[in-house]
C-alpha cells in the first residue's frame, strides 16, 4: 500500500465529514455547481451585434421584418445549442482513476486505522468500505472517456431538437 493511496483515502474520508459550504461566498459558488451547459437560461439575442447583422442580411432576401427577427434568433439559438454540444462532447466528466483502480479489499486496514482514533467498531469499518465500494461501482459503470462523452452529449438531444425545429419553422413560415 503506497503512501499516496493512504493519503488519498484519508482525504476522501475527511471530505465525507464535510457539511457543505458555510460562508455566503461558498454557498454562492456551490449554487452554480450543477450548471453544466446553460441552455436553460434565457438569452437576449436582440442586443447582440450578430443578431442585428443577421437581421439586415436576411431582410435583403425579401423576408418581412418579423420573419427576419425570428430567423436570426432561431439561427443564433441553434448555434448556441451546437456550441454547448461541442463543449460537452470535448470536456466530459473526468474519470476518477484513483477510485476506479483502487483495490478496496486491500484498503480495509487503512479504513480501520483512520477510524480507530474515534473508537470505531469493525462494523463502522465495513460500512466505510461498503460505501467506497459502491462509489467505485458507480465510477466503473460510467465507463471510460468515450462512454462518458456519449452519455453527456445524449442529454442535449432535446435542446437540438427544439433548436432546429424553431429555426426551420421560422424559415418556412417567413
Amino acid at each position: 500500500m503506497t503512501i499516496n493511496h493512504r493519503r488519498s483515502l484519508a482525504n476522501r474520508c475527511n471530505a465525507l465529514k464535510s457539511t457543505g459550504p458555510r460562508s455566503a461566498s461558498g454557498k454562492r459558488a456551490s449554487s452554480q455547481n450543477s450548471r453544466k451547459h446553460g441552455l436553460n437560461s434565457a438569452t437576449d439575442f436582440e442586443c447582440s451585434s450578430e443578431y442585428r447583422a443577421l437581421v439586415d442580411l436576411i431582410a435583403e432576401e425579401g423576408f418581412s421584418a418579423f420573419a427576419c427577427a425570428d430567423i436570426a434568433a432561431g439561427l443564433l439559438n441553434y448555434r448556441r445549442v451546437m456550441d454547448a454540444y461541442y463543449d460537452t462532447y470535448t470536456s466530459p466528466e473526468p474519470v476518477d482513476e484513483f477510485l476506479r483502480d483502487a483495490n478496496m479489499r486491500a484498503s480495509n486496514p487503512i479504513f480501520s486505522e483512520l477510524l480507530s482514533p474515534s473508537g470505531s467498531e469493525p462494523h463502522d469499518v465495513r460500512e466505510m468500505a461498503a460505501f467506497f465500494a459502491s462509489m467505485q461501482r458507480q465510477e466503473r459503470r460510467k465507463g471510460g472517456p468515450v462512454s462518458r462523452r456519449t452519455a453527456d452529449s445524449h442529454k442535449l438531444i432535446r435542446y437540438q431538437r427544439n433548436g432546429i425545429a424553431r429555426l426551420s419553422r421560422a424559415v418556412r413560415q417567413g
Binding site: A53, L57, G62, D83, R100, N103, G143, P145, Q160
Partner: protein
C-alpha cells in the same frame, strides 16, 4: 457599413450577395474541430455542398454550413461507436486478466488500441495474446462480449446519429423553401414586368388610336 458578425469577421451590407455569403461563412461555419481532425476535409465538404446551391443567398449559405456540421457530427459519432467497443474490450480484458492486481484499464486500453490498429510492437502483441489466452477468449469472442457490454452507450450514439439525420432533414426543407421563395419572387417579377410592358404597349396603341 461594416458589421462585426462573429470571431472578428466583418460583413459589409452593401457588398454583392455572393461576397456576403463568403463573409458570412466563417461566422456560422467556423469549424470547431478536434485536434486529430482535418480542416481541409471539413472545408472541402462545405465547398462541395455550396457548389450545389442554385441561389447562394447568405441565409442559404448559413443553413448549408449547419448541414455540413451535422454531416461532420455523424462522422464523429460513427467513429465513437468503434471507440466504445474498444473501450469495452479493454474493460473486459482488465477484468479477466490476472496479470495485475489493479483495474489498470488505461494501460490495456492503449495496448489494445495499438494491437487492433496493427501498430503494436512484438512485446505488446504477445502480451495481448497472452491475456486473451489467459482469459480463454479469442478476439472475436471479446468483441461480441464487448458489444453486449457497451450496448447501452452504442444505442446512445445511434440516437445521436439519428438526431443529426433529423436535423439535416429540417435544414434541407428550410433550404428548399428559401429556394422556392426566391424562384417565386423571380417569377412574379418577370410576370409583373411582362404585364407592365403589355400595359405600356396598350397605352401607346390607345394613344395612337385617339383621334386628333
Amino acid at each position: 457599413m461594416l458589421y462585426n458578425v462573429h470571431f472578428g469577421i466583418y460583413v459589409d451590407v452593401a457588398m454583392p450577395v455572393e461576397d456576403k455569403s463568403k463573409s458570412l461563412l466563417p461566422f456560422l461555419s467556423s469549424p470547431k474541430l478536434l485536434p486529430n481532425e482535418s480542416e481541409a476535409d471539413f472545408q472541402s465538404g462545405l465547398q462541395s455542398l455550396l457548389s450545389e446551391l442554385d441561389n447562394p443567398s447568405p441565409l442559404a449559405v448559413a443553413l448549408i454550413s449547419q448541414l455540413n456540421e451535422s454531416l461532420w457530427w455523424i462522422k464523429r459519432h460513427t467513429k465513437d461507436k468503434e471507440l466504445l467497443l474498444h473501450e469495452a474490450m479493454a474493460r473486459l480484458l482488465s477484468k479477466a486478466g490476472s496479470y495485475t492486481e489493479t483495474y489498470d484499464n488505461r494501460k490495456v486500453s492503449e495496448a489494445l488500441e495499438r494491437y487492433l490498429d496493427g501498430r503494436a510492437d512484438k512485446g505488446e502483441a504477445e502480451w495481448i495474446d497472452e491475456v486473451l489466452a489467459e482469459s480463454k477468449l479469442t478476439l472475436s469472442d471479446l468483441r461480441v462480449r464487448a458489444f453486449k457490454d457497451a450496448a447501452k452507450h452504442i444505442k446512445m450514439v445511434d440516437d445521436l446519429i439519428h438526431r443529426q439525420h433529423q436535423t439535416m432533414r429540417h435544414l434541407q426543407r428550410s433550404i428548399d423553401s428559401i429556394d422556392y421563395k426566391s424562384r417565386l419572387i423571380k417569377r412574379l417579377d418577370l410576370e409583373l414586368a411582362a404585364l407592365e410592358s403589355k400595359q405600356s404597349l396598350k397605352g401607346v396603341l390607345s394613344l395612337d388610336d385617339k383621334p386628333s
